[in-house]
């Protein structure tokens, strides 16, 4: 069962080949068997999952199944889930049982989906390797000495090892696309505002966006159909019509104009990764796509600008974790200041503290103009680069990451080098565009991802382009030996 895509599972459920309860139990068993070695889940909710599956089977029996009815999913532990521990990978929220559902969770519930559990992640989504989690490092199923990427590392590893058919993630600077690339998955980050952020624990509000980890673009479309849309509880969600994302998958890509930004193929890109990207470009050419070199001249500013904007927003977003109303509180505080200092000092890990400090500094009086304001201006320049580019091309393609997965611990003492592993993904968040990472080969048995970027709200185009590639390649179907 676990080699099937969502689309195939839905067909099997509908045909009565197996029930949702059987399917759910199968995945629960796989988690029990395999996850100790991977650490991809923080919480598994077996009983709850079986209850949901039982309900789903009743609906399927009536013939009123929706596309996701009875399909099990793993949810990133950043989405508040009513009655379920929601930690965001932090000790700060180790005791936090959410009293409400995030809109994303609600959407899956309404679609009749089953939740297997909550996946591991870098603490408060801050990290590119899933090494900053309070719940320990997540391992890459392709080689457990390697990182799965981050921050949605658990979400990626769980699907890569088929401990869930698909999962949700969030992407602030590459946190879906980078781990998808490193784990051989299809990782979709929709346009900013496409999916509600309500109930998704905020890291950097103006960059955060929920998305999907799937085996195929076709599955991503099925999930986005459920997740996308205006949410009145999120003022930044956008009132843009939601098309049927599955509808245009089969359009051919003949004549598709693809831009290759020269800045994304410059120094720092691993030569072997570059070859895999070239291979993907060749496949697209065979399908009739046309390639042109383009320039995104402000690319070099994206990492510095991101590491002002994201920490600045996080320094404010994480102020609510003060030990007063919920979350970790230190023992025997002697006064209010002691309560704040120790609760936060004990509750947050070092990467989170680093970013809070950087952010607070960037916003402080006397530095605001030089840092935050300037970063926001750069952000506009970066967005303008893309707007200009999309006057010439339909989509942009690039490597998702400069290298395949690195080893666990390799970059622990070098945060700057870690930050640069997101160099190709960050600009997309700064501009608010949709992006997808698609498996396109291996280097030393470690996966490589191709990133496709589309104009605002052109997720249909993105999914169509990815799907067409997956019709003529099988990289996305490969899975790590040990989990077959």
């Amino acid at each position: 069962m676990h080699t099937k895509t969502i689309a195939q599972l839905a067909a099997s459920l509908k045909a009565g080949e197996f029930s949702s309860v059987e399917l759910t139990q199968h995945y629960i068993n796989r988690i029990k068997n395999f996850d100790q070695g991977l650490n991809s889940y923080i919480t598994v909710v077996e009983e709850r999952a079986i209850e949901q599956a039982t309900e789903a089977d009743k609906i399927i029996a009536t013939g009123n199944a929706q596309p996701l009815t009875g399909i099990p999913f793993a949810q990133k532990d950043i989405f508040c889930t009513d009655g379920v521990k929601t930690t965001c990978g932090s000790k700060m929220l180790d005791n936090f049982i959410s009293p409400y559902d995030a809109t994303v969770i609600e959407s899956f519930n309404n679609a009749g989906a089953v939740m297997l559990g909550k996946t591991n992640m870098d603490e408060f989504a801050m990290g590119s390797s899933n090494e900053t989690s309070f719940y320990g490092t997540v391992k890459n199923p392709w080689n457990t000495e390697y990182v799965p990427g981050g921050s949605s590392g658990g979400a990626a590893a769980s699907v890569a090892a088929r401990l869930a058919p698909a999962s949700t993630g969030t992407d602030t600077g590459g946190s879906i696309r980078q781990p998808a690339a490193l784990c051989n998955l299809t990782g979709l980050k929709p346009s900013y505002g496409r999916v509600s952020r309500f109930g998704m624990i905020a890291f950097a509000s103006s960059l955060d966006q929920a998305g999907t980890f799937t085996q195929t673009a076709e599955d991503a479309a099925l999930m986005l159909n459920v997740m996308a849309g205006l949410d009145e509880k999120d003022s930044t969600s956008i009132d843009e019509p939601v098309p049927d994302y599955s509808a245009n998958l089969n359009q051919d890509v003949k004549g598709l104009k693809v831009g290759l930004p020269k800045e994304y193929f410059a120094d720092g890109l691993d030569a072997e990764v570059a070859k895999r990207i070239d291979g993907a470009i060749e496949e697209y050419k065979k399908l009739g796509a046309e390639f042109v070199e383009i320039s995104l001249p402000n690319t070099h500013l994206s990492v510095p600008a991101y590491y002002i904007v994201a920490p600045a927003e996080c320094s404010s977003n994480l102020s609510r974790f003060d030990g007063v109303r919920f979350g970790h509180r230190c023992d025997d505080p002697k006064d209010l200041e002691d309560l704040y200092k120790r609760s936060r000092g004990e509750g947050f890990g070092s990467e989170v503290k680093r970013r809070i400090l950087v952010g607070a500094y960037a916003l402080s009086s006397g530095y605001y103009d030089a840092y935050y304001l300037k970063a926001q201006k750069i952000r506009r320049l970066i967005a303008n680069d893309f707007t200009e580019a999309f006057k010439e091309v339909d989509v942009i393609m690039s490597p998702t990451t400069p290298t395949p997965a690195f080893k666990i611990g390799e970059k622990n003492d070098d945060p700057i080098s870690m930050y640069y592993s997101d160099i190709y993904t960050i600009a997309v968040n700064l501009a608010g565009l949709p992006g997808i990472s698609v498996p396109c080969g291996f280097v030393n048995n470690m996966p490589v991802g191709l990133q496709v970027i589309a104009p605002y709200f052109a997720e249909s185009k993105l999914l169509n382009v990815a799907h067409q590639y997956q019709q003529v390649t099988d990289w996305h179907q490969r899975m790590p030996e040990a989990y077959k």
Binding site: C80, K233, Y340, S364
Partner: protein, 477 residues
């Protein structure tokens, strides 16, 4: 040296919306702690704010009422600081692009002259919760019912030069916000409160002195007192050769003194930045005009109309228009009785006096306008005299009921029957021959004596006009 005080006020007016500025929780006052705080108000992980359109409209309405520029694109900012009753660790407010820009209001001074006071800006923001330090045996309780209640902070220019001007300005803003219905103006419940910036300078000097900010003053009386004691404090410092420190001070109304809360050196860096969870508010001219069209008659316009329509003098018109309820009360009584002068003196005199004495708002008046007009009608038709009317009013005030039923049950009806009155007059003349002689010899003051005798006899119910006329006639015979 002659000193001059310079005062600017920051008024916080709670907007009279049903729900909070960024959540659907109720804003009603006085509920059990934390029963009006949902996940958004509690600042739970993952929650997001959604702006209450009604709060925005009310802020715009205030802006149009003071003829201010309206921010076509206003922005919410986060003001970051830690406090237990501030759930998110930041207050959502407006810093650089407030919803209301420059405007002005006119105040009236005691000598009858007027003065324009500039309003620098007014911005939308959320209120914090309350920390409760009693009843928790050493610990602190937190009530987040008020957290997220919408406020407009109205910032004046430093245009006021006396505590009286400050009070007049505060009253004027109070009357405007209550007239247009954007604030209930209830100062006991904290719906309308202010901070005062006070500094001194030698008279004639243009440059401002160093200011102190007096926090959280919640009555008109306290504004005046707080500023007065602060003036004295600053003059004492300056005249003994010291310098005033820029700081925040708390006014203690029990001790009638101000105390330092924190100095400028301790001032926090709030790390303001635009709230990424809220989009900028864009308002069109059409939106603004649509809101402007809903403005009721404002205090200044009403005052002019009262002077014009009811021939009131400026002072009476000012008093009667100081609150919408009082103005409505007067207008109803004036129209019903057809005698604005009578209505004015009885509303601003008798009624306002009684309300003041009992510390009541006119909304809490035990007598409504209809009943009040009923009382005055009985003066007009000579059923009772003015003096008896006050007695009837007393009864209406304490026991309730209409003037007519009280006049009837207490037998207060004026005696206007000419035959009866004539008999009384004849009797008083017959009983007091000495006084009659003196009167006829030219001691006309004795007229009062004769009237008094009859009033005494009738317990004040005799029609004074008729008695006077009858006495004059009989005594000159």
């Amino acid at each position: 040296m002659q000193w001059e005080v310079v005062i600017g006020l920051e008024i916080h007016a709670q907007l009279a919306t049903k729900s909070k500025i960024f959540s659907g929780s109720s804003t009603a006052f006085g509920a059990e702690p934390n029963t009006q705080a949902n996940v958004v108000d509690l600042g739970m992980p993952g929650v997001l704010p959604v702006m209450n359109k009604e709060a925005l409209n009310m802020a715009v309405k205030f802006g149009t009422a003071i003829g201010a520029e309206i921010g076509k694109r206003s922005v919410f900012d986060r003001k970051n600081y830690f406090y237990p009753d501030l759930p998110k660790g930041y207050q959502t407010t407006q810093l650089e692009h407030p919803i209301v820009g420059l405007g002005e209001v006119e105040i009236e001074l005691e000598d009858g002259s007027t003065k324009k006071i500039g309003v620098t800006r007014a911005h939308l923001e959320e209120d914090a919760g309350k920390s409760l330090h009693e009843d928790f045996s050493g610990a602190t309780g937190i009530d987040l019912n008020r957290a997220g209640t919408p406020l407009i902070e109205i910032v004046s220019e430093p245009d006021m030069r006396s505590p009286e001007e400050a009070v007049a300005y505060m009253r004027k803003i109070h009357s405007i916000v209550t007239y247009i219905g954007v604030c209930d103006g209830n100062m006991q419940e904290g719906s309308f409160r202010c901070d005062a910036n006070v500094s001194m300078r030698p008279k004639g000097q243009e440059e401002f002195g160093t200011r102190a900010e007096l926090k959280n003053i919640n009555s008109f009386r306290f504004v005046e007192r707080a500023i007065n004691v602060e003036i004295e404090r600053q003059i004492d410092i300056l005249e003994s050769g010291g310098t005033v420190v820029q700081e925040t001070r708390l006014y203690d109304s029990n001790k009638n003194e101000t105390r330092s809360m924190r100095s400028k050196e301790d001032a926090m860096d709030y790390r303001y930045f635009p709230d990424p969870d809220l989009l900028p508010i864009v308002i069109t001219d059409e939106d603004i005009e649509a809101i402007r069209a809903t403005l009721p008659e404002l205090p200044d316009a009403k005052k002019i109309r009262f002077m014009d329509e009811f021939k009131l003098n400026a002072e009476d018109a000012r008093i009667l228009t100081s609150s919408l309820e009082l103005a409505d009360f007067f207008e109803a009584v004036a129209k019903q009785t057809g005698d604005a002068k009578l209505a004015s003196s009885w509303v601003s005199g008798e009624l306002a006096g009684r309300l003041n004495k009992e510390g009541l708002n006119i909304k809490a008046s035990p007598i409504n306008a209809n009943q009040y007009a009923g009382l005055l009608t009985r003066i007009q038709d000579n059923t009772i005299s003015g003096k008896i009317a006050k007695e009837v009013l007393d009864a209406m005030w304490t026991e309730g009921g209409d003037a007519d039923s009280i006049i009837e049950s207490k037998g207060l009806k004026q005696i206007s029957d000419t035959g009866a009155l004539e008999a009384m007059v004849d009797k008083v003349i017959a009983d007091n021959p000495n006084q009659v002689e003196q009167f006829k010899a030219g001691k006309e003051k004795l007229m009062g004596f004769f009237v008094g005798q009859i009033m005494k006899e009738t317990q004040g119910k005799a029609n004074p006009g008729q008695i006077n006329a009858l006495l004059k006639k009989k005594l000159s015979e």
